[in-house]
Amino acid sequence: MTSTRPLTGTRQSQAIPLLSLSGITKSFSNIVANSNIKLSLNHGEIHALLGENGAGKSTLVKIIYGLISADSGEMYISNTKYRPKNPKDARKNRIGMVFQHFSLFNAMNVYENIAVGLDDSFSELDLRYRIIDLSKKYGLPLNPNDVVGNLSAGQQQRIEIVRCLLQSPKLLIMDEPTSVLNPMEIEQLFNTLRKLASEGTSILYISHKLNEVKELCNRATVLRGGKVIRTCNIKDYSTAEIAELMVGNSVKATVRTNKIFGETLLKIQNLYQDSEDPYGISIKNLNLEIKSGQILGIGGVSGNGQEELMTALSGELKPKKGKILFNGSLINSLNSEERRSLGIFSAPEERLGHAACPDMTLSDNVLITCSKTANLTKYGFIQKDLTKNLAQNIISKFDVRTKDFSSLASSLSGGNLQKFVVGRELLQNPKLLVINQPTWGVDAAAANFIRQAIINLAEAGTAVIIISQDLDELLEVSDDFTALVSGRISNPRPVGDLGLKDIGEMMSGTLLDD
């Protein structure tokens, strides 16, 4: 995304690598998460750790950071044996880690969040100065008194990074750092990382976004199924080649055969929706229109009103102000059951507890959402066979890896449950489908399948609203694109007309005027 020249970290490399792993193996009950992993990191190198979800990246870095211990294998730091019992040991060896899901405390301020993560003793005033100093030096401005819950995801990540930098790490582990950032924040982060690398800090960069990795990293280690597939110089490979290494086979692109838009199906006028979360963002004056057969992609970092828009559309909460019109009639006061019977279906982001009841079987989960639309009850009695068949149907059509319809929702892995939830909504022949993060946590092949299923639905005349943080996905699938930033939305525009600059502006909210 930026044109800055990637650093050649190898220029600093010395004979002895900073960190080297050999034969690292770890299994959980019956799954082998890491098998005989070999990895070495040079000083001042930005090294990518690539792989699909479930490839074992997170397990490996958790072993390095001392959160879990390996079953076998050895680790060395500058040729001395390294065996961390807990993260404190790792930090003593000057290894820092920035988590994908921040380990921050919302109700506490920036200073407290940083202080609680430091092992050494310090004086409050001194630490405050060092936070301000360090954050300025690396272009990560922070105010120690801000309450974390009120900050954006990008600002929260800065706290994590500054917390690591205060311990002057030799190795910084970054777990999917860009998944919550907008394009401008990503560029800022990359500049910081390059500066750190040029000062001799090694960075282990975990990602599945190949463009970023190609831009930032020197070498890459690709994991698949818990094994190292290859370690390579990233410049010698094309993105497609690396993708193939990660997935194991090539993924074909989605196809759209027709684009016929019908009448305007859903119209939102001046919608206001308050957030239920004390640190959430409320929806302000939102206007939107969607025709049947159209796919509208709503981008933006989660936590900018995505959840609130979702609850307003699904009928979970009544809008505070404004109108939601479906086929010309006002549906503000209809609850989700009533909206479902009109043909409005939704798949919220949080799979367990929101989109599915964790402690109920898959067939019961089908029953509670589709009892009316799929006629699963008769005179108030459950049609057991119909329900089971429908659940089994979803399982086989969407390749949900589980025993059968009697499995508990909570027993499925994130990706599999995701396929089940999406499949359940897609099979109801919705008139309008609202879907939040449709491919979150699923592997590339399954993600592709879900995207194609969404496209097929639109071709058959369904209007689809996709809310997603995955920009590439939105640009691939949607007809029109807009971004939800700070609870406000810019005018949707056809995807074909958009340049990267336009998207960047939409996603940072600069197009919104008051």
């Binding site: 993260p87 380990s103 405390f105």
Partner: protein, 310 residues
């Protein structure tokens, strides 16, 4: 009926005494809840503290040993709660309620042969100069040590959470258990210690009732004070200094309504005995509404079971 027969000096002096027990229990529970644990067994720990302290005081003829015994009794009972909720991962609400029922029952059993006995008095410290100040001296400086200890412990709790690393860790564990674990803090150990501290405070609160405030042993003598302490913690928005306000309003109205009954005010006794509860709740709701709402100050992981994953 003559309102002027109520002496404000004595009123304030006795409200401090009557609030002390609730204040102690609430301070302990606040520490527990800050660590993310909801222990509804305060009432049970208080009554166990009351009887343990009483027995030790009578047997050893030492009120000081009695107070220490009451704290140990409360801590011992809270260990059951800690074991059940932290190591066996049981539901905290159910376990807490069970702890209260168990504590009340066990206390009656233990205290069977101790009804009607008078325990030795806890001597009051003589504070020179300050206690001789007219009015203020009698109001504030002629109390027993536990009254002062309760105030000091509230301030200490405030200092702990505002100024120390230890307090920061406890807050972190209660705010987001997964993050605290990821940073390398031992969530379970922190919580077990907090539960024990909370238990000793509740025990001491009970001991103060049976050894100083009443002083004798009667079954069910805590009479819901543990529940009021729990409510105080919530309405104080988990802020230690506000506990003093809440506890003193409650204590004040308890004493006031007793005085009003004594001078024969023409209002039903039932209504009068209700006032401390109602006034306390209204006052605290007013304090906790608006900025710094309860919703945002509740420890994020309160009542959640912690399980290490992967």
């Amino acid at each position: 009926m003559d309102i002027s027969s109520i002496d404000p000096v004595i009123l304030i002096a006795s409200l401090m005494v009557s609030s002390t027990s609730i204040l102690l229990a609430a301070t302990g529970e606040l520490i527990v809840e800050k660590s993310g644990v909801l222990n509804l067994g305060v009432e049970g720990m208080m009554i166990i503290g009351a009887i343990c302290g009483f027995i030790i005081c009578v047997e050893f003829k030492s009120p000081f040993l009695g107070l220490i015994g009451s704290a140990l009794g409360g801590a011992l009972l809270s260990m059951i709660f800690a074991a059940v909720t932290q190591f066996l991962r049981a539901n905290q609400v159910a376990s807490g309620l069970a702890l209260t029922l168990f504590g009340l029952g066990l206390a009656s059993l233990l205290g069977h042969s101790y009804t009607g006995i008078k325990p030795p008095y806890l001597p009051k410290p003589n504070i020179p100069l300050l206690s001789d100040i007219p009015i203020v001296g009698k109001m504030l400086f002629q109390h027993d040590v536990v009254v002062y200890f309760s105030i000091v412990s509230v301030v200490a709790a405030w200092f702990l959470f505002q100024k120390t690393k230890l307090g920061l860790i406890v807050k972190a564990v209660g705010e987001n258990q997964e993050s605290a674990h990821a940073l390398g803090y031992n969530v379970i150990r922190t919580r077990v210690i907090a539960i024990l501290v909370g238990g000793s405070f509740a025990g001491l609160a009970g001991g103060y009732l049976s050894l100083v405030r009443v002083p004798q042993w009667t079954e069910g003598m805590t009479a819901g004070a543990g529940w009021i302490a729990l409510a105080l913690v919530v309405f104080s928005g988990w802020k230690p200094l506000r506990l003093i306000i809440g506890a003193y309003i409650f204590g004040g109205f308890t004493i006031l309504q007793l005085n009003l009954q004594a001078i024969g005010i023409e209002l039903s006794v039932a209504l009068l005995s209700m006032t401390p509860y109602i006034v306390t709740i209204i006052a605290l709701v007013l304090i906790s509404s608006g900025k710094g709402r309860v919703g945002t100050s509740t420890p994020g992981s309160l009542g959640k079971v912690f399980m290490k994953v992967r």
